[in-house]
């Protein structure tokens, strides 16, 4: 069995003491920022990217991945105990979880959330191990035309599944592509849009953009409304779920895992979308739909399993194709580039220990998260008393030191401010920042594949449609685009994302 020997190889990497340590740090940090409202995984990973520069590639990626799925665990604690989603994917959990806590069943809700997440995480690890290699195999046969079309499909569908206006999201992708073209042209070596600044020869620093549009603008959004949060933290008496709770949760957890695993793979999918979809399904098929919103354990078990599964399977396109499907994956790609690894199908063949190490570390991390979250829940709840004004000076200083440490370039620091203000302004005008980051990270690859394909076809653009795989991918992109502008689906899409606010 090749799968098992691969997993074994991965465990050899992920079970090295140093990697267990960084996996633990990642899971710990993830839980921490997941519990705290007002700081999400994107901002945290952006902030820590420069620090990972000094680690080995496997430790760096293992830690960053831990932050993402760790945040899914931590987010549910806040959602259940104080009715405030610590993380956007946990917004659904708050609906029924908080009601359970008010009825004195907060403990079982937390336990089911953690165990459901653990189960989903375990399954998702195997899903990644099963699906990533064949996709990689396929991607290795792709020529430039196929890659170009794949990126088009990826960008279009991530826009379709993002919330807010589609036009604005597309324009943000465009701005990302433009920003990505700043720097030295790969074919001719001529300087593009550097405004005569030699510091821009390598392009705009990815970390500066990420910290600006996620970190700085997130802080500013939180500063808009600085009233003291009235926090009533519900008491936890016992963590043990009753037999009935477990019986009620098995189905939702299984379905949530399936839904999450599937939606996570789609571009633009991931944790948040998965948990919303799972909640909708559970309410639809339930024999007692009136109990939803009043403390139904199914409404906690399903979405919690789904968001964890979705968070993990969204690694599949990133690992096997090198194409990030959401902002966190774009940051992971950035981390790889920072480490000198070219993301794409070659990672699995040339660096199998890294590829499988990262996959197996997710299972190790999930195990640690159950242990971290359940017995220590009281400790995490106490963290909620940290006022926000103590956090953001730390975020800004950490980011500044980290970014400066990579290139010793003051311009990278000025870029944080420029992109922070631009990002905040655009967010206020209804433009989500994630598509910009995806455009920026995919831009150079997109342009390179386009130029290579056109050289090979002697300037004939019809290759993109006449080559079968490329044609099918482009057709899919058109279908996706067509679907979201169709009135019925447009309305449904708006409904789904209204709850998401």
């Amino acid at each position: 069995m090749e799968l098992f020997s691969d997993l074994l190889l991965g465990l050899q990497t992920s079970l090295q003491p140093i990697n267990i340590f960084y996996c633990f740090i990642g899971a710990l940090l993830g839980t921490f920022i997941g519990v705290l409202p007002g700081i999400g995984p994107s901002a945290t990973i952006a902030m820590l990217l420069p620090i990972t520069f000094s680690l080995s590639p496997d430790s760096a990626l293992i830690m960053l991945a831990g932050i993402y799925y760790g945040a899914q665990y931590g987010g549910s604690t806040t959602a259940i105990l104080i009715n405030l989603p610590g993380e956007s994917a946990a917004a659904v959990t708050a609906i029924d979880g908080y009601q359970m806590a008010r009825q004195g069943r907060g403990g079982p809700a937390l336990a089911i959330a953690a165990l459901g997440s653990f189960f989903a995480g375990t399954v998702a690890t195997f899903v990644i191990a099963l699906f990533a290699p064949p996709l990689t195999e396929m991607a290795l046969k792709f020529g430039p035309a196929e890659y170009f079309s794949l990126i088009v499909l990826g960008l279009i569908s991530s826009v379709a599944l993002a919330h807010g206006s589609i036009l604005k999201a597309l324009a943000m992708v465009g701005v990302g592509l433009l920003l990505g073209s700043i720097g030295t042209d790969i074919y001719t070596g001529s300087m593009r849009f550097t405004l005569g600044l030699p510091e821009l020869a390598d392009g705009v620093n990815f970390v500066s953009i990420a910290v600006g549009v996620f970190g700085v603008s997130e802080i500013l959004r939180n500063l808009e409304d600085e009233r003291t949060r009235e926090m009533v933290i519900q008491k936890i008496t016992s963590l043990m779920p009753s037999r009935q709770d477990i019986r009620d949760s098995v189905g939702p957890v299984l379905r949530g895992t399936a839904v999450g695993s599937f939606l996570g793979i789609l571009p633009g999918g991931g944790a948040t979308l998965s948990s919303f979809a799972s909640y909708t399904i559970e309410r639809k098929i339930s024999k007692t739909p009136h109990k939803f919103g009043k403390g139904a354990i199914q409404g906690v078990a399903g979405p919690e399993a789904a968001n964890n599964a979705g968070a993990q399977t969204s690694f599949i396109p990133m690992l096997s194709l090198g194409i990030p499907s959401n902002a966190v994956m774009a940051l992971m790609v950035g981390a790889m580039i920072l480490q000198g690894i070219v993301p794409g199908p070659n990672v699995a063949t040339q660096r199998p220990e890294l590829f499988w190490g990262l996959i197996t570390s997710m299972w190790v991390g999930n195990l640690m998260l159950v242990l971290l979250n359940l017995p220590l829940v009281g400790l995490w709840v106490r963290l909620l008393r940290i006022p926000y004004y103590m956090l953001f000076p730390a975020i800004i200083t950490f980011s500044a030191i980290g970014i400066y440490s990579v290139n010793s370039n003051a311009l990278d620091l000025y870029s944080i401010s420029i992109f922070g203000i631009l990002g905040y302004l655009l967010i206020k005008l209804g433009c989500e920042p994630a598509p910009l980051l995806l455009g920026f990270i995919l831009g150079p690859m997109f342009e390179e594949q386009l130029r290579r394909a056109m050289i090979l076809s002697h300037g004939d653009p019809s290759v993109f449609v006449t080559r079968p795989i490329s044609g099918v991918l482009l057709l899919l992109a058109v279908v996706v685009l067509g679907l979201i502008v169709m009135p019925a689906i447009k309305k449904k899409r708006e409904e789904v994302f209204v709850e998401d606010e």
Binding site: S165, L167, K168, L170, A171, G174, V175, L177, L178, S181, D185, Y187, T188, R192, F193, V216, I219, L220, L223, E224, D225, E226, P387, Y388, Y389, M390, F392, P393, A394, I396, T397, F398, S399, A400, I401, Y404, S405, A410, D412, L413, Y414, I416, S417, G420, I421, L425, L426, K428, L429, G430, C431, E447, L450, R451, M454, I455, S457, H458, G459, D460
Partner: protein
């Protein structure tokens, strides 16, 4: 006629960004042909795309009521964007320690809730912690006190 001001503003920003890139690409870079694209080809097309999308966003704003822009934390916006700039200007001259303290002080005052004593306390803890992690822990090759402070 009602117009959504936010859509118009967003559209104008996109048009401005797209136009800037198109003009620079057109005037300073070679375009090449479709079989041999020059450095300006791709950014020019992307720039046009952004401009066109910007126009559509403006058009989509017509006939819709404007939605509130919401409050802006002016003090926060100014101080938080100032901090990285000050950090960038001072890091070489002042060294890691004083620069961290300076950046932290500036950011603290972004919140209306932080008094002077609190800001000092946060700054002191943060400076010690950062020096511990970055200078002693990770061994960052930046002097703790820079040349401006050497007398």
């Amino acid at each position: 006629m009602q117009v959504n001001g936010k859509d118009v503003a967003a559209g104008l920003i996109f048009i401005a960004i797209g136009t800037a890139f198109c003009v620079i690409a057109w005037t300073t870079l070679t375009m090449g042909t479709s079989s041999r694209m020059g450095p300006g080809y791709f950014p020019f097309i992307a720039g046009i795309l952004v401009v066109v999308l910007g126009l559509f966003i403006i058009i989509s704003g017509f006939g819709h009521e404007t939605t509130p822009f919401g409050s802006v934390p002016w003090r926060g916006a100014i101080l938080i964007s100032l901090a990285p700039i000050v950090f960038g200007i001072c890091i070489r001259g002042l060294g890691l320690g004083p620069t961290i303290a300076l950046a932290s002080m500036i950011t603290c005052f972004a919140s209306y809730k932080v008094g002077f004593v609190q800001a000092l306390a946060i700054t002191a803890v943060l400076t010690v912690f950062c020096l511990g992690v970055f200078h002693y822990g990770l061994g960052l090759p930046i002097q703790v006190f820079g040349p401006w402070l050497h007398v």
